[in-house]
Amino acid sequence: MKENYDVAVLGGGPAGLAAALAADAAGASVLLIEREGRLGGILKQCIHDGFGLVRFGKKLAGPEYAQHFIDALAQSKVETALLTFATHAEQTPDGVKLTLVSRAGMHTITVKKLVLATGCRERTARQVAIHGTRPAGIFTAGAAQYYTNILGELPTKRCVILGSGDIGLIMARRLTLEGAEVLGVYEAKPTPSGLARNISQCLKDFDIPISTSHTVTRVFGKERLEAVEIAEVDAAMQPKPGTAKRIDCDALILSVGLIPENELAETLGVALDKRTKGPVCDQNGQTMTEGIYACGNALHVNDLVDYVTESGEIAGRAAAAASAQRSLCPLATQGEFLYAVPQQIDLATLKTQTVLFFRVSREMQNAMVTLSVNGKTILEKRYRHLRPPEMERLAVDLSSAGLAQNSALLLTVKEADKTE
């Protein structure tokens, strides 16, 4: 390892791999830092297929998708530091000083640009307020997936799944195939949060029941989980009295959402967006802190890895370029959006294609999404169906839209009248 690099990429998952390769291709000296012993990030344990349809036009398994980029990395000039943690980062006049810890000890490097590709974390039982004892047997879906697919140890014989996120649904199928009994999937919201195809191929195919507007209210067991209490919830997600029932099981698996991981970003004072829970950034993935970039799930939780790769490439390429004074125009949203990314548009580096992502806050039919500049529509797109769990991508040419720093750049969504 050298003492200086143009670009350091933190995290060797799909976003970090893409960012490192893109920065290398753009001529930068690159160090890719990964805390685990193998590259690939979460894809290592996502052995199911369905990855890469957008990028490769094929249904690949997670490790296979990652392998494409790991193989490309071996042909590049990118230096990789495995089993290496970044424990501290601070801005200096030369860029960013990173403190790294590995088996060789502790050392510091200085990089001109830092790309955060730290992915996201699962919400845990502590974050969904489940009452009762603290027995073993309560896992996040990702932890259950790690036991099953990486360690080869089945973490349950008889389990209940709380939450209907895609990882939970995929684990329902996986555990069933490996011989465990999945008693049911319970979702507090009135609609499932995972993709419809996963409800079909992971639950229906195996006769696993799903109950919406239901949640786990209590857990039982001293050393190991013995049972959970399930109750129906009302519109305010409060348990309805008299609906509680006890289900005997040895594990509770949680698939209750993901949150971008930005511990290091916070120590650098990077501004975060309350809606995405990731950094506020421009279309190049540059955060509001000069020289610090973010991509992939660290920026906002994606549902397709193909878009994570794209985001990594954008950030990596931009990080390799020389710094330039930015001229920012905010992208505002109006209407029922959960969020839109990027939150800022840098006019100084606008190219003919700018990629926007958004999620709506409720299910809509025949919705019209409009992007306007100072009230003038520059893009309209009709969607037959919009759902909060499904992220939408818009590619738009903003370079000819006459944008200025004080322009009102606005994304709106409107559902067609039901009477139409």
Binding site: I47, P63, E64, R197, I199, S200, Q201
Partner: protein
């Protein structure tokens, strides 16, 4: 008429599949693959299968694998049992065939990760 969720891609179209006098008709699909899927679900459903097999490799004790194509849905439990018996004792590259012609289906099982030692 049967209502199905198409599993070909993440769009997850809701398909209406009906058996008529002149064959099966599929509506609600956004692409030809959806129509194909709808018909197959009523006559001969197929699934791709992903799982892991054991190895003697130190870097990858569990090798992820998948069927290189779809196998009859009814064959899935037997396929899982057959793959549980496989032990890989040499380095593999993603794409290498681990078990050819799975249970006579004509479909190979391939590695989805690379492990060198």
């Amino acid at each position: 008429m049967t209502e199905l969720t198409c599993i070909v891609c993440p769009m997850g179209c809701t398909l209406q599949v009906a058996q008529g006098a002149d064959g099966i008709t599929v509506t609600g699909n956004s692409c030809p693959r959806g129509a194909q899927f709808g018909k197959a679900e009523l006559t001969d459903p197929h699934r791709s299968l992903t799982t892991t097999v054991h190895t003697t490799l130190t870097t990858l004790p569990l090798l992820p694998v998948r069927t290189d194509g779809e196998i009859p849905k009814a064959l899935v439990p037997k396929a899982i049992a057959a793959l549980a018996k496989v032990l890989v004792e040499h380095p593999v590259k993603a794409g290498d065939v681990i078990l050819p012609d799975l249970l006579g289906s004509g479909i190979d099982v391939i590695a989805t990760a690379t492990a060198t030692e």
